[in-house]
Amino acid sequence: MSGSGQFEERLLTKLVSFQQNGNHASETMAPRTGRGRSRPIVAAATVMAVAAVLVATRTGSSPSDPVATPAMSLEARTVAALSTASHEVVFHSTVVQSSGSVSELWRDDQTGASRVVRKDAAGQVVWETAFRPGPGGAVQGVTINYQDRTWGEREVDAAPGMTEPPETAAALQQQLAENLKNGRSMEDGSEVVDGRMTTRVKTIGAKGETSTLWIDNETLLPVKQIGDTINVTYSWAPRSSENLAALWPAVPAGFTKLDGPPLPPGVKLPASFGRS
């Protein structure tokens, strides 16, 4: 059926009426495809393991925190995971744009330290910036422009970079829970990704853009995402000294230090900038 016709629209109206009238309750109308239809023991055991992991990794929880149970939907388990998310991880993601350019993001949830590295389509690093907490509540920033071979530091009261990238565990799980609740996201089967069992979640954005997210069944954290224009892989590493070191770049030898941070490649200030 190329395109959507009157039949499809009439059928949708009928389906919605069928759904809203509670006709789904009839067991006799259940499809007879597949073999046993009862909840499999293996799946239940997996979810119980998830609950166990969530309880084991929770930090600072209170008795009133929700706890994931085997019967919970992905949405409910994600909401439960929000209160149990461990801050003992360093977030890392690689975002590949349709243009071929790549951004690598690191973030330490505990301190808010973050680092963004931008690469061109050939994989060459062109620019990066990082922020970390400094003395007295200030924030230290460093920016390196690899094309101009320049770099600079800055200290600010509240660095915009400290809130970027926004993909903290809690933010991602909050977004997922909301999307599942409002129907923008839907579970779409299971898949093993890099040896881990994941749940595939399809999302349709407000403008009709689509993306697929793979959620680790144990941690309920995203593993990868493929959208119309971007391709993201996520990793959540232990908060070891080695992983924390990845949050702060080493300035290459021979680069010229500027008074302030260099602009990203291709960004030029207007000619009138700085004139009184």
Partner: protein, 186 residues
């Protein structure tokens, strides 16, 4: 997938995402527009009523699940002859068609028709082998989705697919491009 049975917006997203694929699947197996409309209608009605039976953690894909429902309905259609099921009488997908829908679905049936050469080659296969080959090579399902649609374990399904592929090779000649394409994706 209980939201399918309860949430209106989720149902609409789910329906719009899969309706074209289910209709194309039905068009490859039905000969008149009314039958396609009935299969599509009953498939989604059963999906809504049976949403509680779908468990994505079992490696099930929504499309494989829907195709399984549609496949059963097509088999039912063939068995039932002229008698209408209670659900079809209730849903009446064919009664939702207007003239333009009928024309569109007939065009869809034509578009989904296989070449005589491929039809002849597929006719050499057993029913179970043919269905396995069609689901993967023509309907575009993954092996897992197709196994699920047929209610088989992946091992049994792959064995059938492999036999079908082997038998198809016998029909292959240098000029049978479509058969070569089918073999290539199996």
């Amino acid at each position: 997938m209980l939201w399918l049975a309860t949430d209106r917006d989720s149902l609409e997203i789910f329906y719009r995402r899969h309706v074209a694929a289910v209709a194309a699947f039905a068009a490859r197996r039905c000969h008149v527009a009314g039958d396609i409309a009935d299969v599509v209608s009953v498939t989604f009605m059963k999906a809504v009523s049976g949403a509680h039976t779908f468990d994505p953690r079992r490696g099930r894909s929504a499309l494989g699940w829907l195709v399984g429902i549609a496949l059963n309905e097509i088999r039912e259609q063939a068995r039932r002859d002229q008698r209408q099921s209670a659900l079809i009488a209730r849903v009446g997908g064919h009664r939702l068609l207007d003239d333009s829908d009928v024309v569109r679905m007939e065009q869809l049936i034509d578009a989904q028709r296989l070449s005589p050469q491929l039809e002849r080659a597929l006719a050499q296969l057993s029913n179970v082998e043919r269905e396995a080959v069609l689901l993967v090579a023509v309907d575009g399902l993954s092996s897992g989705e197709a196994a699920m649609a047929l209610g088989l374990s992946s091992t049994v399904f792959r064995a059938r697919l492999s036999r079908g592929k082997r038998h198809l090779r016998r029909s292959f000649t240098d000029s049978s491009t479509e058969i070569a394409e089918v073999i290539a994706v199996l």
